[in-house]
């Protein structure tokens, strides 16, 4: 996949943003589960893991943000216009870009949601 204006969108680029969400989610859950097991000292703070989650979130948001800006930029520059129902490879490309934008938006919100518990809770109780 060439980065920049020449990206050829396909089903894989479409699911990049939610895949980032998925990886972020699993790493957050996995690291905290590991950090808290076997759930004994439940009032001990787990600062290290929360910082890890924080860093992970920044990386994930940056990744999704990049996908978002890339797709939005290309869509705009090339005159993307919903509802994308014309019959040409060009419009299909715009359609994929626009759908990528929407999915990236959703994934962005979902990553923030995922990070909220780590921001709000300090221990393993």
């Amino acid at each position: 996949m060439a980065i920049g204006n020449k990206t050829r969108d396909n089903l894989w680029t479409l699911i990049t943003a939610p895949t980032i969400w998925g990886v972020h989610f699993l790493l957050c859950y996995g690291s905290v589960a590991y950090g808290c097991a076997p759930n004994e000292n439940i009032f001990q703070t787990i600062g290290g893991f929360r910082i890890f989650v924080g860093g992970l979130t920044v990386v994930a948001l940056a990744g999704i943000g990049f996908v978002f800006m890339r797709a939005l930029g290309e869509w705009r520059r090339n005159g993307g216009r919903i509802p994308h129902e014309e019959d040409s490879a060009e419009v299909r490309e715009r359609f994929l870009e626009f759908s990528t934008v929407l999915l990236a938006g959703l994934s962005f919100i979902a990553v923030i949601y995922t990070a909220l518990p780590a921001a709000m809770m300090v221990d393993c109780r």
């Binding site: 759930n39 919903i82 509802p83 949601y113 709000m120």
Partner: protein
């Protein structure tokens, strides 16, 4: 939350009626897209974010440190083994702490204090739920879970097992009695006393003759079985058979004689083969275990 849900439901349904019946075709695609963006994207994000933050901040609070007694609750097919004032901590690959003041199927709690339950199970997964006092917590073999409760109003509450555990799951209930801290202390002190039983008591003789002591403990006597509930202060409880029947001599006799009719699936065998007199003697003696 309920009111909000009703409002949203009415709005959505109202909108669909409006769109189809009242003003059909009055709006174009632009209006439709605006509806999707504001109604389908922005509005839910705002509401859900608020709800999520509210829900998350509540969770640690509900699991705050206890300032009252620690009570071990072992959920067993199909009753609750209770021990007051234990030392222990939660965790995976753990079993409940030994010791404490034993009881069963009725839990007393001090009002106004945060008491802590340590919940486990030796057999299958159960779940302790006292609807009016707190949410559920599962009892999982190999784990000790922790549930903090802070009852405020004295009274008697119902509790149930909320995780399917077998045939008598529906009849695995308990009573929770919330009293003042002083009364609570007195209660636990009373429960810690052995029973006052004469060894030549007719009922007690029948009780041991028929092997009841193999499973049940009556402290202060030779009955030290650990399988079933501790009966030392049986008659002080409000119910028998884990919340199935109210405590009374008749019900005690019924349960001993027709165990499986009263509570199908329970581990205790029916003692229907005993004569009515024998059962009455046992029930009468049990009734004295205040």
């Amino acid at each position: 939350m309920l009111a909000g849900a009703v409002v949203i439901w009415v709005a959505v349904i109202g909108l669909s009626v409006f769109a189809t019946k009242i003003r059909p075709g009055a709006y174009g695609e632009k209006a439709g897209l605006r509806l999707i963006v504001w109604g389908g994207c922005v509005f839910p994000v705002v509401v859900l974010t608020a709800l999520l933050v509210w829900g998350l901040q509540m969770m640690p609070v509900l699991r705050a440190e206890a300032n009252g007694p620690t009570i071990a609750v072992s959920a067993e097919r199909f009753w609750w083994r209770v021990a007051y004032d234990v030392d222990g901590e939660p965790g995976v690959a753990k079993s409940l702490p030994e010791g404490g003041v034993p009881s069963a199927n009725e839990i007393w709690l001090p009002a106004g204090l945060r008491s802590e339950f340590l919940i486990g199970s030796p057999d299958v997964i159960h779940s302790l739920w006292i609807p009016s006092i707190a949410g559920k917590m599962d009892a999982i073999p190999g784990r000790v879970n922790r549930l903090v409760v802070e009852p405020t109003k004295p009274g008697v509450y119902n509790g149930v097992c909320a995780e399917f555990c077998g045939d008598a799951h529906a009849q695995m209930a308990l009573r929770v009695v919330v009293v003042s801290p002083e009364e609570y202390e007195a209660y636990v002190a009373r429960q810690s006393q052995p029973a006052s039983v004469g060894a030549d008591d007719e009922g007690f003789r029948r009780f041991t003759e028929n092997g009841c002591d193999a499973c049940h403990t009556v402290r202060g006597t030779a009955a030290t079985g650990k399988v079933g509930p501790d009966l030392t202060h049986l008659a002080s409880r409000r119910t028998i058979a884990a919340g199935t029947l109210p405590m009374s001599p008749e019900n005690l006799a019924t349960f001993v004689g027709f165990t499986h009719r009263v509570k199908p699936g329970v581990q205790m065998p029916s003692y229907g083969m005993l004569s009515e007199d024998e059962i009455a003697a046992i029930a009468g003696w049990l009734e004295t275990l205040k």
